[in-house]
């Protein structure tokens, strides 16, 4: 009985998510669905980057590089298995299974890349990570553009459209559940301790390097997932989707939402994805706005919208203030 309760508690978000998403996806069509899916992919990116930049207090600005690793791995796998079908099940089910395999492989590949980049640079102070990840993002582009196997600058086209609303939604659920359960676990507290004071954390027995690398590897894996989902949505895998511009977009989402706040990242990713959808054509203006946003935020409200708090830490307070008037103080 107890075991049953544990299992249901553990899987609840996934089962509920699947049910709700399936229902919504039936009533959803056309360009709206695509906009929402892109927003969902951005949520995966922002929340996973938040594990490194927000929870752990390190600063990665090359998330798109890991996205690229996941995307190319997944794309190569689906292209290779395009004409293969598992015997005994429908062609559609077979495709979905292979897609799952491709996405997981993409996550693993991105995680390995994260380990290779993170292990040397995370032994040092956080600001080295920034420039190493920026460099990594550029290197991935150089490698892709020079490798015929990866289609060079043209990339891989003709990918089957396997990403749908349910896949993206489940990706979001998995990412958010990962971030929240991590934050409320002993491992997550170790990460927060590193952010707050690395020297004290180490003196309390936290193996800081190991924890930083693990956080970075997890974040990279989910960036890989986002990459795999994206290329099977736009049916094209090119280096142009994974430039440093994409990385900076994600950084802006995390900083705007508040470093350390999962709900903040979700909200910022949603707002920036939807509101700026119209500005897609004028990329320079959009990036100038992002740049100004970063600078002004740092000068005026460096904690972002929510700081390290979550939406529900703030909402009840408003309610309380309304109920008790101005006299209502903090507990």
């Amino acid at each position: 009985m107890r075991a049953l309760r544990l299992v249901s508690q553990s899987l609840l978000p996934f089962v509920a998510g699947l049910a709700v998403l399936s229902m919504i996806s039936k009533g959803l069509s056309g360009s709206w669905a695509i906009v929402l899916m892109v927003a969902g992919i951005n949520i995966i990116l922002a929340v996973s980057l938040n594990v490194v930049n927000g929870f752990t207090g390190q600063f990665s600005i090359g998330h798109a590089g890991f996205m690229a690793v996941g995307a190319y791995t997944a794309a190569k796998i689906t292209m290779a298995l395009r004409f293969v079908q598992i015997a005994g099940i429908s062609s559609d089910a077979s495709d979905q299974l292979f897609f799952l395999l491709a996405l997981v492989a993409g996550m693993v590949a991105a995680a390995v890349a994260g380990l290779l980049v993170g292990a040397p640079s995370l032994r040092l102070r956080g600001d080295y990570l920034a420039i190493v990840t920026l460099g990594f993002n550029e290197i991935i582009r150089v490698i892709i553009e020079n490798t015929p196997f990866l289609g060079q600058a043209t990339g891989i086209s003709g990918l089957p459209r396997l990403t749908n609303f349910v896949w993206v939604g489940m990706g979001v659920v998995a990412t958010v559940v990962m971030a929240k359960r991590l934050a409320e676990s002993t491992h997550g507290r170790a990460l927060l301790a590193i952010r707050e004071d690395e020297i004290a954390a180490e003196a309390m027995g936290v193996d800081t390097t190991s924890y930083k690398v693990r956080a970075f590897v997890i974040a990279s894996a989910f960036a890989g997932l986002a990459g795999g989902l994206l290329v099977h949505l736009i049916q094209l895998c090119t280096p142009r989707s994974f430039t440093f511009i994409k990385s900076f977009e994600v950084v802006v989402m995390v900083v705007l939402g508040g470093m350390g706040s999962v709900t903040g990242s979700i909200l910022a990713a949603l707002v920036l994805s939807l509101a700026l959808e119209g500005l897609r054509e004028v990329q320079e203006f959009r990036m100038v706005m992002y740049a100004l946003l970063l600078i002004v935020l740092m000068l005026t409200r460096p904690t972002g919208i929510f700081g390290t708090r979550e939406i529900w830490d703030i909402l009840p307070k408003w309610g309380r203030h309304r109920a008790q008037g101005a006299a209502g103080g903090s507990p």
């Binding site: 002993t186 491992h187 507290r189 301790a193 027995g205 936290v206």
Partner: protein, 269 residues
């Protein structure tokens, strides 16, 4: 005779041309409460840093429970059984008091990241155990009702106590307290020293206390080590140390007073 908790032998720490600590020897047995005193810049914190692995010592040996730990990283040394506090409080400011202590309880945690992600039974049991343990340490330091307050919002004295609770939670055999009474008034200092003695009695661990103010530490510690300019100038019981001419020189000598630009009315004892 049981083996000493800490055995520091000829530990020397050199920064460029400056010898911050020279041939430092110290042996601590379980249940001992030893004070380390000395004027500003005497090398007290440097000795702590050498013992806890913040800087690896230039030469000499730090032996912890029979094992040489020179050059180990601070987290490894902490796991071996030395915990410390910091002179300038280093709490995890944006975490709650409870979480500050829970961070220090994380050793002995078996469940990995995946278990946390899947909320397995083992993971939940571990979390339960850690929370319980952390609350016990908060209670010992009189902070039970502050468990959900953010560390940065606690008053100064409670921050100091929270830092001790956090250090205790790592389950140390030796607790190093770096000026735990700094910034407190005389009666607060005495109360804190009493608390430190109680901790020693309750947990049966060795405690090494740095204190700037000689009179405060005299009352509680059985043994004192006096450092000046990196050199151990005296050791022994408080009474012996108090009479030692070198100690009087270091504390009240002309050179010291000139250096600090202060005038102290000389007390006759």
């Amino acid at each position: 005779m049981s083996e000493p908790v800490l055995d520091a032998r000829k530990v020397t720490m050199q920064f460029g041309g400056l010898k911050a600590l020279v041939d430092f020897d110290l042996t601590l047995m379980s249940g001992e409460l030893v004070g380390m005193i000395g004027p500003n810049g005497a090398g007290k914190t440097t000795a702590f840093n050498a013992i806890t692995g913040v800087y690896p010592p230039t030469s000499g040996d730090v032996i912890l429970l029979g094992e040489r730990v020179n050059g180990r990283r601070p987290h490894q040394i902490c796991m071996k059984g030395i915990a410390r506090t910091f002179q300038n409080i280093r709490l995890f400011k944006q975490l709650t008091a409870l979480d500050n202590v829970r961070v220090a309880c994380h050793h002995g945690h078996r469940a990995g990241f995946t278990a946390a992600f899947l909320l397995t039974a083992a993971f939940l049991a571990d979390e339960e155990r850690i929370t319980q343990r952390a609350e016990e340490f908060l209670a010992v330091m009189g902070l039970a009702d502050k468990r959900h307050a953010l560390a940065r919002n606690l008053p100064y004295g409670e921050q100091r106590r929270l830092e001790i609770a956090r250090a205790l939670a790592t389950g140390p055999r030796l607790l190093c307290l770096d000026e735990p009474a700094a910034g407190m008034n005389a009666s607060e200092k005495v109360a804190l020293m009493e608390l430190i003695r109680r901790i020693r009695d309750q947990f049966g661990i060795a405690i090494l206390v740095i204190e700037h103010d000689m009179r405060v530490v005299m009352g509680v510690s059985e043994r004192l080590v006096v450092l000046d300019h990196g050199v151990t100038i005296a050791r022994g019981s408080p009474q012996q140390v108090q009479k030692d001419p070198k100690v009087i020189e270091a504390y009240l000598g002309d050179s010291y007073l000139e250096e600090k630009h202060i005038h102290v009315p000389v007390e006759s004892t």
